[in-house]
Symmetry: C2
């Protein structure tokens, strides 16, 4: 028998993360199932942003680079992320975008190889493929698009998402690293849909390189700076070509020669966007004391509850079923996905649509309750049963969702 | 005879930019001569940032990518900058940092050349050289560091600042472009110290490529996103390797193949830092209706006044003297530059120090009055005459200024 409103309330009563809901000021009348695309602002991120703008920028002016700690923020924020993904202090730097960081690490890894081969899964998040394509053209490398998860021999660098942006399926990091190691390949993990949600545990799983995003489950703000993880033992041997002054060992020497910082900081480039960075830095403090397995367990339980209530709707899902490891989202295939999602959004339940036919629902463990998920599933069922989505105002235009 | 307080007041009375001072909320007791390093916040940038965070991010959530126009902001802000630097609509995109944008354009220009040669002036802002060094290593190019301004034959791409970050000297863009054209070289102009200050006039001077910074004279906020200018006729033929989804012709198609946008937008990469970007976008509106020659004329007049009052101090300057074209700063060489600047900052006059021995004073035309400059010069003279800078609290530590 499907879960009831009462069952959801019972789960809320014993939710170890329940108190985090108060850390967010969500708009009234909205159940937000799109934290996998853009996390909502923690109250402390909004407060910190105002402090950074009104006090540090306006009153402190140039002095704030030192006095307010702007200069070290990319490392400090990186260390906060390190804890969440099983890395050490000094192994993560916050900088640029996922795209740019991916380029830097992949470039560094093929720098001294002759006719290198890059590989990416054919169904990977498209921009990861675009970036490797761009690098291949510049550096004389070859890009292979993989139709199956197996790593062909001859691959130097493989880029793979830990959590699929489409289905929410989770790769077996340890197994992939083992296979890559046997084949002589390095793996760069894209943790965009994993960080702040999944128990990533990079070092224990043998991962040496990763990039990830600050604006999804980390709730760092729209287009928040991204991060790069480079295992300590690898960092010192790698040269990345976007060698801007923030990656210099002594940036304020203004020396003509580039001397890279000893650790992951050498993967920084230009001056970071401090306003955006400060919001992310504050958002990261929310995770202090939270164990990643607790996040993963709740996200999965929220998703299981949603699947359970939606089960009678007979929808086709590409996401892992209850009982299997899953990221923070569930995706349904539906040819009318666009108007259905619009009709649902009009009822205050926000998910997203990805062309050509995917409806995605995200289950952020920090601000969602089981009751939220119950109500959202009920609204979803109502929209489908009533066929409310057939109303002309939900028809597809030149849509960005 | 040196200018008096009365002379300064007279200049203020006829200053066509005087009304802009009210657009800034500068801290009391401070004369800020460091807008060349970090511009202060326009009131509208602070207001816009709060709007973006509290309304668009918090209440609008993911919907704001469309509803609040986040998605098009890099182009919109780029078009505002285009007007200031003599470029056309669609020729400027706001994205990433100066370092990353420089890498993109230089990469695109050498992409199809065999054994390409990059060149940079030996005294150029160091990070520009670091980036070219990184690119050279990755793409098999050679980097030449020029000891004189002449362009040697065989150079494919030259990177040059329009305004020197050290002296404030202004290069002759038209002459350089003419020489480059004769030698078969392309020039990428670094406009970091020029935009929002100098009458750049890119197209009329024959320039096809440029990068620049949002946080100096544009007052866009600490680490504000940078920009890239690519002349329309060149953009369509160039592939840049940091080909992230924001540079795609149809980013929301999520197609596997990268199809670049037709204009400068193809030089965008990953998701932009929206909070930082929105502050810059609002700051740019301040320049609406202001003619670049008016900005340049006032900056130079402020600098001339400062030089005039400082003349009896007998200091050595590396900056262009009164009567010559000059950017927004004046730099004095002094072996005790560090403690002198600290003593001056303690008196509320903020300039900066650049190792090993440069004191720099910036003359932003929007928020400074001639009277400000008069008072600052008086304070400078007092610190030097009284030798107040010898007090132990001003001694050099591990300084970032």
């Amino acid at each position: 028998m499907a879960a009831t409103r009462k069952d959801a309330a019972k789960l809320d009563a014993v939710d170890p993360l329940a108190q985090f809901r108060g850390e967010f000021d969500l708009p009234a009348g909205v159940i937000y199932l799109d934290g996998n695309s853009l996390g909502p602002p923690p109250r402390r991120a909004l407060a910190r942003l105002q402090q950074t703008a009104d006090i540090e920028w306006r009153a402190g002016l140039i002095r704030s680079w030192n006095d307010a700690g702007w200069f070290d923020m990319p490392k400090r924020a990186g260390d906060k992320i390190a804890r969440l993904i099983g890395a050490n202090t000094g192994e993560v730097i916050v900088a640029d975008s996922v795209s740019v960081n991916l380029f830097k690490i992949a470039s560094a890894l093929i720098a001294r190889r002759r006719a290198p081969v890059l590989a990416v899964d054919a169904d990977e998040f498209p921009t990861d493929g675009y970036i490797l394509e761009g690098l291949a053209g510049l550096a004389g490398a070859r890009l292979v698009r993989l139709k199956t998860p197996a790593i062909p021999s001859g691959v130097d660098v493989l880029v793979r998402s830990l959590v699929s942006y489409r289905s929410g399926a989770v790769a077996d990091m340890r197994a992939v690293e083992k296979e890559a190691s046997a084949k002589g390949a390095e793996v760069i993990w894209d943790l965009s849909h994993a960080t702040g949600l999944i128990n990533v545990d990079l070092r224990r799983n043998g991962a040496r390189f990763a990039v990830g995003c600050g604006y999804k489950f980390l709730n760092g703000g729209p287009g928040a700076p991204a991060f790069a993880y480079i295992a300590r033992e690898a960092a010192a041997t790698l040269s990345q070509p976007l060698s801007g002054w923030m990656g210099h060992a002594s940036p304020f020497d203004f020396s003509t020669d580039y001397r890279p910082a000893p650790d992951a900081a050498r993967f920084a480039s230009g001056t970071p966007p401090v306003l955006s960075l400060s919001a992310l830095d504050a958002a990261l403090d929310l995770f202090e004391g939270v164990a990643p397995p607790t996040l993963e367990a709740k996200a999965r339980a929220l998703g299981d509850l949603f699947l359970d209530i939606c089960e009678p709707l007979g929808l086709e899902t590409i996401s892992p079923p209850a009982g299997m490891r899953r990221g923070g989202q569930i995706a349904f295939v539906h040819e009318n996905g666009f108007p259905i999602m619009q009709a649902l959004i009009a009822r205050g339940v926000i998910g997203d649509f990805r062309a050509p036919n995917l409806m995605r629902f995200g289950f952020s463990p920090l601000f969602l309750s089981y009751s939220d998920v119950f109500e959202a599933a009920e609204a979803f069922a109502e929209v489908l049963k009533s066929e409310a989505w057939r109303a002309p105002e939900y028809a597809r235009r030149g849509a960005v969702t």
